[in-house]
């Protein structure tokens, strides 16, 4: 890797200046930070400021959740490629059906971002809603230090994580809307959160069609 001539790998001539040693990000092994750690406090402070910044520029809770969702979305798209790239060659395939995709999110994405899998995966029991699935996290890491004021009780800041999930789905060509909902469970899991994944109708149709063939 380190012998790559700078900018040769990008195909087109880059107009960016590089340090005199010629090192660019393309010289960095992509797995270098795969397992490195930073303090959770740094994440918490950045996330807190992201929420505070977004809050100043929106009118209501829905708009705030949308802003957080958008900020997570770009992360999801990148993560899909990054995590698949890091898989062993034979499992590098993109998920090809809804269940495989959701398992990938529940396991790989959660494990990478939060150090553990999501707690559960469920399909909507409502026969009218074959397009709805739920990823359940009993204690979202992003909400660990956040107390939502009573007057905003509809808000769940894990909308940011919903955006990540949405980004992964969109990137995998399973377009969906993903939203985060608090479903607190008493003293044990007061911050329990359901990520409601609602796939676009064509995704469900495609799946039904593929199942027949």
């Amino acid at each position: 890797m380190s012998s790559l001539p700078s900018s040769a790998s990008t195909g087109k001539e880059s107009g960016l200046r590089v340090p005199s040693n010629g090192k660019t990000i393309y010289h960095r092994p992509i797995n270098r930070t795969k397992t490195s750690e930073l303090s959770q406090a740094s994440f918490a402070f950045l996330f807190s400021e992201m929420v505070a910044y977004a809050q100043k520029r929106v009118k209501g809770i829905q708009e705030l959740e949308h802003k957080l969702n958008v900020q997570g979305h770009s992360i999801g798209i990148k993560l899909l490629d990054l995590l698949l790239y890091r898989e062993p060659a034979r499992t590098q395939l993109r998920p090809q059906n809804i269940v495989a995709l959701l398992h990938f999110i529940k396991q790989n994405v959660w494990l990478h971002l939060f150090g553990r899998q999501a707690d559960r995966l469920e399909k909507s029991t409502d026969a009218e809603k074959p397009d709805e699935y739920m990823i359940i996290d009993n204690e979202p890491l992003v909400n660990q230090y956040i107390s939502v004021p009573r007057e905003m009780s509809q808000l769940n800041c894990a909308a940011f994580v919903a955006g990540v999930v949405e980004g992964v789905c969109d990137g995998a060509d399973f377009p969906a809307r993903v939203t985060a909902h608090t479903v607190g469970e008493g003293e044990m899991w007061p911050g329990k959160t359901v990520f409601l994944v609602k796939f676009r109708s064509e995704v469900v149709e495609r799946e039904a069609f593929l199942a027949k063939s």
């Binding site: 406090a41 918490a44 402070f45 996330f47 807190s48 400021e49 929420v51 505070a52 809050q55 230090y145 956040i146 107390s147 939502v148 004021p149 905003m152 800041c157 007061p190």
Partner: protein, 216 residues
């Protein structure tokens, strides 16, 4: 082996470290107390060889309440942990207490004896100018029935803990409360600095921590 169950005042300990039982004439001497507040006793021949008791007497080690004062002397948090420990006073009284303590703290800091000031660095040398340590203000208030300890952080926020006069490890308790404050107040985007603290998770974590101490 006999273990005192939680929440019952089965014994009291006098100042000669002798234990008196509330329901009998037995009395025993304490041999040693370990860090988990488990105590070994010397027992009379009629008793089993060793007796392990965990100190649980609710009225001997109790954290009564906590108040937090902001940099300007305003009361931003006030929580009572033990009903009946201290008499109730009005919120207004607490506000006055916070403001008054803040003022007294500042004055007592000024009253502190002058410390020798390091001489200014000799011109021409590369010694950085020294910044003297500020003098501390009033740290403890004590009455017959309670003790109030103040922890003044380097940013000027004050944590006042009201406890039983015999309470031990108050420093450790206050530091742990500061940890909780740094996590569940400072990292909450909905908390505005210097304003009253309304953070559910902070309340919950604080209560469960203090409950642990009070039930020990």
């Amino acid at each position: 082996m006999k273990v005192a169950s939680k929440g019952h005042s089965l014994f009291r300990i006098d100042n000669t470290r002798r234990v008196w039982f509330s329901n009998s004439q037995d009395k025993i001497d304490i041999l040693e107390t370990n860090s988990k507040a488990e105590t070994r006793f010397m027992v009379s021949p009629s008793w089993p060889d060793t007796l392990n008791l965990t100190l649980v007497s609710p009225d001997s080690r109790t954290v009564f309440s906590l108040i937090i004062i902001n940099k300007a002397g305003g009361l931003i948090y006030n929580k009572t942990f033990h009903e009946g420990g201290l008499n109730k006073i009005s919120t207004n009284d607490y506000l006055v207490l916070a403001g008054t303590f803040h003022g007294v703290h500042a004055i007592t800091a000024r009253l502190n004896p002058v410390k020798p000031v390091a001489p200014p660095p000799t011109p021409g040398t590369n010694e950085p100018p020294n910044r003297p340590e500020p003098s501390s203000g009033l740290e403890v208030l004590e009455t017959e029935n309670f003790r109030m300890q103040c922890f003044n952080t380097l940013t000027g926020t004050k944590f006042l803990l009201f406890t039983e006069t015999t309470q031990t490890n108050v420093d450790v308790t206050i530091k742990r409360i500061y940890d909780l404050y740094a996590d569940y107040v400072m990292k909450n985007p909905f908390y505005s600095l210097e304003m009253p603290i309304r953070c559910d998770i902070f309340d919950r974590k604080l209560l469960s921590y203090i409950r642990e101490i009070n039930n020990r």
